[in-house]
């Protein structure tokens, strides 16, 4: 499992930058980022190198931050591989709340991050199908 930060951000210019700015001040390295908008606000999802440090710094700056586990899966960079992984989950009746990918990962295979309500089952199914699950230490 991978530690993910969720940060509450309002829909206004500069609100995402406020978060990245604070993380830069705290010398936190951002590895992946995703956000889905609603009319009023968004939840910014981040994978960073030091999740707990990031949370305490952001909280001290007045952000509402949650750290929780999400599943990271390593994919070989080949056509149809995401589809393959999603099919495994679909066959196992695992519902995905949201999914996003790592932007840059020097010399390493791409990673998809997703949230679900049943990590145990998801892990079992993916492992059974030979899909590699990533831990924080491997990022």
């Amino acid at each position: 499992m991978i530690k993910q930060l969720s940060v509450f951000v309002e829909n206004r210019p500069g609100s995402l930058m406020d978060v990245t700015n604070a993380l830069t001040e705290a010398h936190i390295n951002i590895r992946a980022v995703a956000s889905f908008d609603t009319p009023e606000f968004a939840i910014l999802r981040l994978v960073v190198d030091k999740a707990e440090d990031a949370k305490s710094y952001l909280t001290s700056k007045g952000f509402v931050v949650r750290v929780h586990d999400v599943m990271g899966v390593e994919l070989i960079d080949q056509k149809g591989n995401l589809n393959h992984m999603l099919k495994i989950l679909a066959d196992g009746e695992i519902s995905i709340n949201y999914i996003y990918s790592f932007v840059i990962r020097a010399e390493k295979a791409p990673v998809m991050v997703f949230s679900t309500d049943d990590y145990e089952q998801a892990e079992q199914i993916l492992k059974g199908a030979g899909v590699k699950i990533i831990e924080d230490s491997e990022l």
């Binding site: 969720s6 609603t38 509402v64």
Partner: protein, 436 residues
């Protein structure tokens, strides 16, 4: 048409009635109501100290908080068995303000409403559509009973359901509309949107408006929407005093005539409590006369106005109060419902996922009041999913709805994004200009 001869008496005759009834009221409350006796003893005043109308100043004020402190019926001066009606309005905190009526109170009240209906041009021939919300609020049943007392016929429509309002207006040939002015404007525009011209396609000719103030700008707009034939007046009251029927505009449109044989008005400085000279702007304080169930002496209405004792061209001699100029306190009138920011605060403070700071924005969109409350999210557990955040929004809305009886919009923002105040917080922004 003038409903009662008491509306046209010479000043000294009105004052004689007022003094007789004031003496009776002072003796009545001292005998029948423990909270009043306590207040009067504390103020060092006995019923026999009231020998002239000027002596009214010696009596203590009554506040909305007295209703809260004596909830539900501590201020009542009669046994429950003598009551025939209860009404209730939103209170300042949690509990509503409960009022009660004896049979005589009801008769006096509805006759006073019949008077203000006549002031606004109503006759026994009118077909009256009541578009106030029914329920415990005094507005709907007050106008309902007053118009029936006058001999007009009443359609108890209640508020909302615009299509049905228009259908009844056409099919029943409604001639008189009772509504809040903002709803009347909304309804009129909906009628025009359906290709109808109220002046030619409907029989409507009178609007009796209350529940919220009507500015002159709104009245002008009313004529644009409903046509020049439309006679629109506003009237004033509040449930503590009886409901509607305290005062109303006559068709001369020069202020609201107070039914002075049942209500003594005073204008005071809201800061010092001192009675101000005639014609000055200040807080309206009302003493109810002859009320059995719930006598009320020197009630602080919180409404700012001034009084004019000059006889009116309509023939009435009763004092006129100017259209309200605002509030001495922070009460808001939202879609005709009185809202105190403290009520909103009470709801918000019980919700632990949000912080104690909030802002209230009131706007008028499409003629209707919209209240948006901005709160700071503090609980990170809700960031698991958008569903949790939207459930929080729904819960805040539902709690506010049950406290205020009003739908509100909720806006969640990050902590520390709302302004902090060192002195008195200014949390309310009211963007309604001239009621439009």
């Amino acid at each position: 048409m003038i409903w009662a001869k008491e509306e046209t008496l010479a000043r000294e005759e009105i004052e004689k009635i007022q003094l007789d009834r004031l003496k009776e009221t002072a003796a009545y409350i001292y005998e029948k109501s423990a909270p009043y006796r306590k207040k009067m003893d504390e103020a060092g005043v006995k019923p026999e100290d009231i020998q002239s109308l000027d002596d009214l100043e010696k009596m203590p004020f009554t506040y909305k908080s007295d209703f809260r402190d004596n909830y539900p019926m501590g201020l009542f001066a009669v046994d429950k068995k003598d009551l025939v009606r209860f009404h209730a309005s939103s209170g300042t905190t949690g509990k509503p303000t409960v009022v009660g009526y004896t049979k005589k109170d009801l008769t006096v009240w509805l006759n006073n409403v019949a008077r203000i209906a006549c002031m606004g041009g109503a006759t026994p021939e009118d077909v009256c559509q009541i578009a106030f919300g029914y329920g415990t609020f005094t507005g709907a049943l007050g106008l309902h009973g007053g118009l029936e007392t006058l001999g007009a016929s009443v359609i108890p429509m209640s508020s909302g359901n615009t299509n049905k309002q228009i259908m009844f207006m056409q099919d029943m040939e409604t001639t008189l509309l009772v509504a809040t002015p903002s709803y009347a404007l909304h309804l009129g525009e909906e009628i025009r949107n359906r290709g109808l011209d109220p002046a030619n396609d409907l029989k409507i000719r009178i609007g009796l408006f209350g529940g919220e103030g009507m500015t002159e700008a709104m009245r002008d707009e009313m004529h644009k929407v409903w046509g020049d034939q439309f006679v629109c007046t506003q009237n004033y009251g509040m449930s503590e005093l009886c409901g509607p029927g305290v005062s109303g505009e006559c068709t001369e449109l020069c202020g609201m005539h107070i039914n002075e044989d049942w209500f003594i008005p005073e204008i005071i400085d809201p800061e010092t409590g001192e009675v101000l000279p005639e014609g000055e702007l200040g807080e309206l304080v009302v003493t109810c006369l002859g009320k059995e169930a719930l006598p009320l002496v020197r009630y602080r209405t919180g409404d700012l106005t001034r009084l004019d004792y000059a006889p009116c061209r309509c023939g009435r001699t009763t004092v006129r109060m100017e259209n309200l100029s605002g509030r001495a306190d922070d009460m808001l009138v939202i879609r005709g419902v009185n809202v105190f920011p403290t009520q909103i605060e009470e709801v918000l403070l019980k919700i632990e996922e949000i912080g104690p700071h909030y802002e209230i924005l009131v706007e008028r969109k499409n003629r209707l009041d919209v209240m948006t409350i901005t709160v700071e999210l503090i609980d990170d557990r809700l960031l698991d999913s958008y569903t949790k955040l939207s459930e929080l929004e729904k819960r805040i809305k539902a709690n506010l709805k049950s406290m205020l009886g009003l739908a509100t919009n909720i806006k969640l923002v990050a902590p520390y994004s709302l302004q902090r105040f060192e002195g008195k917080a200014r949390r309310v922004t009211d963007l309604r200009k001239d009621g439009l």
